[in-house]
Amino acid sequence: MSGLFLVQLLNGVQLGVLLFLVAAGLTLVFGVMHFINLAHGVQYMLGAYLAASLGIWTGSFWLGLLLALPLSLAAGLLLEFLVFRHLYDRDHLSQVLATFGVILFLDEAVRALWGSAPLPVPQPEGLGSIVLMPGLLYPVYRLVIIGAGLGVGLLLWLLVERTRMGMLVRAGASNAPMVSALGVDIRRLFTIVFGFGAMLAGFGGALAGPVFAVVPRMGDTVLILAFVVIVIGGIGSIRGAFLAALLVGLVDTLGKAMLPDLLRLVLDAAPARQAGAALASMLVYLLMAGILAFRPAGLFGGVRA
Amino acid sequence: MAPLLELRGLSKSFGALAVTRGVSLAVAPGEIHAVIGPNGAGKTTLIHQISGTLRPDAGQVLFRGQDVTALDLPARARLGLARSFQITCIIPGFTALANVALAVQARSGSSFRFFRRAEAEEALNAPARAALERVGLGHRAGAVAGTLSHGEKRQLELAIALASAPSLLLLDEPLAGAGPEETARLVALLRALRGDYAILLVEHDMQAVFALADRISVLVYGQLIASGTPEEIRAHPEVRAAYLGEDELA
């Protein structure tokens, strides 16, 4: 295996893990509440902005990251209280548009508060690079992202599969009236799941800050990739979201890195570069179309957790 | 006479639960064949497999001598299998007339016509009105279907089934939720249809079943335990056992 390929592979996994952090909340919220939340992407952006600003303010990236978590949670709960809970019993179309309104507002709010230029992000202190192969350095922080994502994935799986709360979430997804009849406050359950999903997205954004640019509307692209992830994985399935996120992350990253070169085998350099770039950016969507053609409900559709 | 509908060894399980176990029965042209059985006997599941909304795990469904097991609901409907639903299934926003006219449209010619106003097509409306008259709903043709009373909706459902000019009517509890008066009217209506259509009827109202059916099959826990004329069924010891404590047969 060439060193460059290994790096692309790791980058792909890293993108996949970040996508998973966003997609997990999205798929849980949809699975439990049948609520489609376009504003999930701006919660990712909010996490990145909060962590970066707090990192600058405290002088420590890690402290900023830590403080961003409860704030992301609070922002999610506030949005749920102000907007989302008025939409649970509306059709998906209304939910799409109202949450689109939230996106417009928060994107603009971020621009008004922080400006349109990318925000300088403090680099995580105390981590250097490690030597993957002779002559090949890789930032440790990127490995930390991968580790954190895997850890959250495992934690979520345990939560949903092994705890009373998770049992309620699974039951509430298939039969909300039944769970209500058991004496569980379904609204509170919704609120908790919502806040938790928002915090995960915020965590993803905070982690992504030092690697990607922190700019207004950074959540949009992630949101749509997260949609692709949960459609491929099967809506409502944590396991499906995890596997699909890794798949999408890898396909996107490797496609962008390698397709232009691959096409040079059959095309001239300039058209190969252009066609390769166009094709690479379409690759995950073609992947989605291909999977849906055979499994309309996604890889793990209909199968819970 | 060759049967119109024939089931051969139909079986279906949901996980470990076998809901249909080797059911075989035949419906002759023009006869009313009723399927009865206690709650949870698998009657609706059976209807779903006959109409094509559920695929059986094993066995065959033959319709007019043709094996239709692999066909889906629309394909079987096009062959002349019309069904009514246990829970009323009409287009609530359409008028009663438009509901029935849609059924006429579905069986006659193409629906890929883009410009003429469908509502003004007398070729669709005339048969639709006739079907509404036949079920006694002619005076409500212009009413929006969602605003009809429960009994009227059941009548409308029947009119829709009739308008698609089927050779077999699958009626899933057509009397469910109807009051005594509506029941009497619907029973009279079904009786009037006997001979014109073959009907497979799933129904809880034993009085109606015994008044209407030419043949009755008894389903218990997914299995047919008896099949015969109303008199034979009334006298059948196993049937009496299955319904022990329920005095509906008395």
């Binding site: 949809f30 049948h34 489609i36 008025h86 509306r90 998906h92 179309l93 209304s94 548009l97 109202a98 689109f100 309104g101 417009l104 507002f105 994107d107 603009e108 008004a112 949009d220 749509i224 949609f227 459609v231 809506i235 252009q274 770039a277 166009a278 950016s281 379409m282 969507y285 073609l286 989605m288 179309a289 849906l292 053609a293 309309p296 409900a297 | 109409s51 629309p74 409907a77 096009r78 069904r83 639903f85 009409i90 287009i91 609530p92 438009a98 849609l102 059924a103 449209q105 579905a106 069986r107 193409s110 629906s111 890929f112 883009f114 410009f115 003429r116 106003r117 469908a118 829709i160 698609s164």
Partner: protein, 322 residues
């Protein structure tokens, strides 16, 4: 005819008002440009309304079909082809083909899947156009000139362009209304309300929905070709997914179930954006919450307002009389 007038009084009044605008003296390029943009988006929104209100298909990727129409104009322009008899059919066909191909996949699913998949396909087109360096990539492409018809520069003048857009908007509305009232539309509407009933009658909704998506795509392509001419410029921005959400909002704001509502919604949205963006740099801070409030409270849409107000009025008069 009088029945038609009474039933369609609102849309006809709306079209008449748009026809009278230049007659009443508003002829400056800015105002007419704004109206042209609103009418063009109105065409796209009407075609989306056919899907949403008629077939229950909430596509969140409709701007892609519009964008493909616009990019067809740009591509042909790059090749030196500006003949309308080629450009317009090409734009319409390209967008219809896109709608057909994505419909084949997305219609296999339903509900929220459909929303997400149409969104994803729309993004796919967005990224594809962004990487077309021959057409300027992200920066977009400026047309050499507007489309001609047999050498005549019909689209250059403000007034002809205004009336062309108006005529096409009216034709689109009429065409979609007729579709919905036809046998075909009856199947679509029935399948929206109760797909099981339709299937039990022997009609599979899939091919009808696919045809509806293709038609809607074709109309959006037409709108795209007009848009490219109106702006004399094409960039990926016109097909980014927020533009698809805008189109959906126009449909909802105008009122689902009223085809002319889409044109009304487009006018309202374009004018509101224009006014708000002049008042304040960060106008979206107002616009976002307005959108949310409109969705939560204005359920019947603008097209439903007159009926609602009339009803309120009658109620009030009744109470007075008693």
């Amino acid at each position: 005819m009088t029945a038609l007038l009474r039933r369609q009084a609102l849309p006809l009044a709306l079209l008449l008002a748009l026809a009278l605008v230049p007659v009443l003296g508003v002829q400056d390029g800015f105002s007419l440009g704004l109206l042209a943009r609103a009418m063009i988006l109105g065409i796209a929104a009407t075609s989306l309304s056919l899907l949403v209100g008629g077939a229950g298909l909430a596509s969140l990727g409709h701007a892609a079909a519009l964008g493909i129409g616009a990019y067809a104009v740009a591509t042909l322009d790059l090749l030196g082809i500006t003949e309308g008899a080629v450009v317009f059919p090409a734009a319409i066909l390209a967008a219809a083909l896109y709608a057909l191909l994505t419909g084949l996949v997305s219609l296999r699913t339903g509900g929220v899947h459909f929303i997400m998949i149409t969104l994803a396909f729309g993004q796919m087109v967005y990224f594809a156009t962004s990487s077309l360096s021959a057409l300027g990539g992200d920066d977009g492409y400026t047309l050499y000139g507007r489309t001609e018809f047999l050498g005549a520069r019909l689209l250059e003048g403000r007034l002809p362009f205004h009336y062309l857009c108006l005529g096409l908007a009216a034709a689109t509305w009429l065409f979609c209304s007729m579709l919905l009232e036809s046998r075909f539309g009856r199947v679509l509407r029935a399948a929206k309300e109760e797909p099981m009933r339709v299937r039990a009658l022997g009609l599979s909704p899939y091919p009808y929905r696919l045809v509806a998506m293709t038609i809607a795509g074709a109309l959006a392509g037409l709108a795209g070709a007009l848009m490219a001419n109106a702006m004399e410029f094409v960039s990926p921005a016109i097909l980014s997914w927020p533009r698809s959400a805008d189109l959906l909002f126009m449909v909802i704001l105008g009122g689902v179930g009223h085809l002319h509502g889409a044109l009304l919604g487009a006018l309202a949205l374009v004018l509101a954006e224009e006014v708000l963006s002049h008042l304040w740099d960060h106008w979206r801070l107002l616009f976002g919450p307005l959108l949310i409030l409109a969705v939560i409270f204005l359920r019947g849409g603008l097209a439903g307002l007159p009926a609602l107000l009339a009803q309120k009025l009658v109620q009030t008069l009744d109470r007075r009389a008693r």
